[in-house]
């Protein structure tokens, strides 16, 4: 079931959470809504579920306008950041809740719940209460509960936000596999670009209530529409009007026309990857990402002078990120002047 949102607007008092947002989510896809806090991504997700009413605009699920349909009739599975487990019910009762509401027979419910608990790898925990589960287990239970009623679409609001780093990574992989297995159209909200790129096939980058760009992870990384997207989906250095990724800075010991003189300020070893911080003649601070081998070859020391050559620098012609034209179009992978420059400005 594909999902589309058309011209969505939503304000909370003076705060405009959604500003003419339109997105298109293809049937069966796994899409991430990515953005900083306050960017409107959660509001958009909640509007799709009907937990938030739009001021103007429409939500379509499988081509049907559901804007005026109450949440209970939209047949969406929703997973909350803080699990929203029914604390007074066992795992079994939690997962079976939607089925009981739908007046399923007891033995049918038993069958379906067992099947789901196996799917989310919680077999044997049916009689526990949520308080007896770990965070990761609770979230998997919440997912099983959402999936039990065979929703048309699955919506996850920062599902791994409250979990620690290790569990997050495991659950990411697991969610991706689960999606491949179930093939239900899934949207998940996150502020973590690495998580979004890892899990989702399609990303929608949001900022200040509107969509900056949408596309695949590679699209966003290689052809960001504007400064905001470029800096949000990866590390970035600003050199005058140009932006360059730290791994796109070549460090050499001999100067030529295409290089800029810089002093090594600090060398930080992060395992295989080395972060070298430079300061340019005009005081601009820049860092480059090198490998251990490159560093050894260059024999760089703190306080030394080296020469930087930016490759693949981008310029967005001074277009501000929040009002760049075309940024709020659904598939707006508008290329904001992919000008390759040879020397730092």
């Amino acid at each position: 079931m594909g999902i589309s949102v058309e011209g969505a607007n939503k304000s909370f008092g003076d705060f405009q959470a959604l500003d003419d947002v339109s997105i298109e989510v293809p049937d069966g896809s796994l899409t991430a809504l990515l953005g900083p806090s306050g960017s409107g991504k959660s509001t958009l997700l909640r509007a799709i579920a009907g937990l938030e009413t739009l001021d103007t605009g429409r939500v379509l699920i499988d081509g049907e306008d559901v804007s005026t349909k109450p949440t209970q009739k939209r047949e969406v599975g929703f997973v909350f950041q803080h699990y929203a487990a029914f604390k007074h019910m066992t795992v079994y009762e939690n997962v079976g809740f939607g089925l009981k509401i739908r007046k399923w027979k007891k033995d049918k419910i038993r069958e379906r719940v067992d099947e789901l608990l196996n799917l989310v790898q919680l077999p044997g925990l049916a009689d526990r209460y949520p308080s007896q589960l770990s965070g990761g287990q609770r979230q998997r239970m919440a997912l099983a509960r959402a999936l039990a009623v065979q929703p048309q679409v699955l919506l996850l609001d920062e599902p791994f936000g409250a979990l620690d780093a290790k569990v997050r990574k495991d659950l990411r992989t697991w969610l991706r596999n689960l999606h491949e297995e179930m093939n239900v159209t899934t949207i998940f909200v996150t502020h973590d670009q690495e998580e979004a790129m890892d899990v989702a096939g399609q990303l929608v980058v949001m900022n200040q209530g509107h969509v900056e760009q949408s596309g695949s992870a590679a699209d966003l990384y290689e052809k960001p529409a504007n400064e905001f997207v470029m800096s949000f989906v990866g590390e970035v250095n600003k050199l005058g009007e140009n932006f360059v990724r730290p791994h796109d800075i070549e460090v050499v010991r001999d100067r030529d026309d295409s290089t800029e003189e810089a002093m090594v300020q600090r060398i930080v070893a992060l395992g295989f990857e080395i972060r070298v911080e430079f300061v340019l003649g005009d005081g601009t601070e820049v860092w480059a990402q090198l490998t251990r081998g490159e560093l050894q070859r260059l024999e760089l020391q703190e306080g030394q002078i080296a020469y930087l050559r930016p490759v693949h620098a981008k310029s967005f012609n001074g277009s501000a990120p929040s009002n760049s034209p075309g940024a709020s179009t659904p598939q707006g992978s508008t290329d904001g002047g992919d000008a390759e420059v040879t020397a730092a400005a």
């Binding site: 969406v76 929703f78 929203a84 029914f86 019910m89 939607g98 509401i101 509960r145 009623v149």
Partner: protein, 267 residues
């Protein structure tokens, strides 16, 4: 002994001493005085026709006032916490009114509504309903004074559980009633139960408002607290003490129920 343990002990002694002198000692004395000359006299007073009637009337009042205030209290709590609007401060203030007002004043105001020249009087006497100096007035007075308890205990719990569980129920297909019955109510049940216990205790012991509107007629409109007072005034001390002890025992049962609830809530 370090200074901090010293001050901790003196605080303890102060606190316990205060409670012992002002609360526990009078109660113990009451029990002692009642049973000083054996069980017969107080037992006889309570099992007299008037005594039994007073007990029955008190229990009837509890049976009407407490459920009404529980239902109303939960509805009001939902209004206050879940349906925010500008007029909520009015509901909030109104619910606190019985706490702030003397029960005697409450009794007098009921008099003004249902009395001979009262607002509701013409309609009521036409319909043949007698409110004042009969059970309805006693129940009304008790409802008035015990309105706040369920609301005050339920509101914080409702705020604490938040709306996510209710929203989750909605996404799973539950309608408003199913959500309330299966998710909200079980989540707030200890808060509500706590309020019910306090409300019951208050209705059991209410004296001031009831004494104004009931007429205090023995065997007719006399509740247990009024029965105690009447016997005391008539120098029937065994009767007064016996009924007082009965009231105290009822209150202790209610308090024990409360402690049990507390312990259950903790697990």
């Amino acid at each position: 002994m370090t200074k901090s343990t010293q001050s901790r002990w003196s605080l303890r002694v102060l606190g316990l001493g205060y409670l012992a002198v002002l609360l526990v000692a009078p109660l113990i004395l009451l029990f002692y005085k009642t049973f000083e000359d054996g069980l017969a006299a107080p037992f006889e007073a309570i099992t007299s026709a008037d005594g039994l009637h007073a007990l029955k009337l008190t229990l009837i009042t509890v049976a009407i006032a407490v459920p009404l205030n529980t239902i109303f209290g939960v509805i009001c709590s939902l209004l206050l916490v879940r349906h925010k609007w500008k007029g909520n401060w009015l509901i909030d203030a109104a619910i606190n009114l019985p706490f702030a007002t003397s029960p005697v004043v409450i009794g007098l105001s009921l008099f003004l509504l249902y009395g001979k020249q009262g607002w509701f009087e013409p309609g009521l006497s036409e319909a043949g309903i007698k409110v004042l100096f009969s059970t309805p007035a006693i129940v009304l007075a008790c409802i008035f004074v015990s309105v706040p308890f369920v609301v005050r205990e339920t509101v914080p719990v409702l705020q604490e559980i938040g709306t996510e569980q209710e929203q989750a129920a909605e996404t799973l297909g539950a309608n408003a009633w199913q959500t309330f019955w299966r998710v909200t109510l079980p989540a707030i049940r200890w808060g509500v139960a706590y309020g019910v216990v306090l409300c019951t205790a208050r209705v059991l012991g209410e004296f001031g408002a009831v004494s104004v509107v009931s007429g205090n007629i023995s065997g007719e409109t006399q509740t247990l607290p009024l029965f105690v007072e009447k016997n005391y005034e008539n120098f029937n001390l065994p009767g007064a003490f016996g009924a007082a002890v009965l009231l105290a025992i009822l209150a202790l049962i209610v308090l024990m129920a409360m402690n049990l609830l507390k312990r259950k809530e903790a697990t």
